[in-house]
């Protein structure tokens, strides 16, 4: 997208992914975290059987959903952490390094999600 001074920057697309990731994370993550992080470990809810989870995860819609949710939520977190770290500790100067680490991490996580859902299951 064109910048006022004529440069082309990917920033608007990153912000688009940022808000999509924020919405997806807000909708999907709390219930899964309550279940797998708290309710099942504390025995409030019986853990789903292995066969059941495997069947759910092998559904094509689940495969796409997990990849999409993981990638968007990770890009959201990367984008937000980039500016949080820079603002919190006044590290604007190091933006190229910080941005590379943040988006690189998100990219690796997304690739791992794609490999797990399409190759490993």
């Amino acid at each position: 997208m064109a910048h006022p001074d004529g440069r082309t920057t990917p920033e608007p697309f990153v912000w688009l992914l940022f808000s999509a990731g924020g919405v997806v994370a807000a909708l999907v993550l709390p219930v899964l975290l309550v279940l797998f992080g708290v309710a099942i470990p504390l025995g409030w809810v019986d853990a789903p059987g292995h066969a059941h989870l495997l069947a759910v995860l092998r559904n094509p819609l689940t495969r796409l959903g997990v990849i999409g949710v993981s990638a968007l939520a990770l890009v959201h977190a990367a984008h937000r952490l980039r500016f949080t770290v820079e603002h919190a500790f006044r590290l604007r100067r190091y933006d190229p390094i910080i941005a590379t680490v943040c988006y690189g991490g998100a990219l690796i996580g997304s690739a791992a999600a794609a490999y797990l859902m399409l190759g490993a299951l």
């Binding site: 807000a26 993550l29 279940l35 992080g37 809810v45 959201h76 919190a88």
Partner: protein, 132 residues
């Protein structure tokens, strides 16, 4: 005109921990920090997928690791931050999205009610999918 070099002397230096000085700044930082826990839990979910893909024994190991008291404490902290993320992001919707029906703006409260209803439906569906 002063040179940029001179201007440096007039610029106020920001203290390194500027956000610890006021409660509103600290709240802002906590909200931004929630993204760290969003990323952490995505990693946990991917580890769950990996365990399920590896077989019943690996899945049991994963469940045992999650039942470790230290892990439960970490996940409770993560849950607090993920809920902070969810609530602050949901409450932003009426400002990010102005809906007009027949020339009239839909009130923010109605949009918020829709957002939380949708959140409830997604939550119920996922809980049913996983445990049901």
């Amino acid at each position: 005109m002063i040179s940029p070099l001179e201007a440096r002397y007039y610029r106020r230096r920001m203290p390194l921990l500027w956000w610890a000085k006021r409660r509103s700044y600290a709240t802002f930082m906590l909200r931004e920090l929630s993204s760290l826990f969003v990323a952490l839990f995505v990693v946990e979910l991917l580890l769950l997928v990996r365990a399920v893909a590896s077989g019943p024994a690996a899945y049991d190991d994963f469940l045992n690791a999650m039942a470790n008291p230290a892990m439960i404490v970490i996940n409770l902290v993560a849950l607090a931050f993920v809920l902070l993320h969810a609530v602050t992001f949901a409450n932003l919707t009426p400002r990010a999205m102005v809906v007009r029906v027949r020339g009239r703006t839909v009130p923010a409260r109605a949009i918020l009610a829709g957002v939380y209803l949708g959140w409830l439906l997604v939550t119920a569906f996922l809980a049913w999918l996983v445990v049901g």
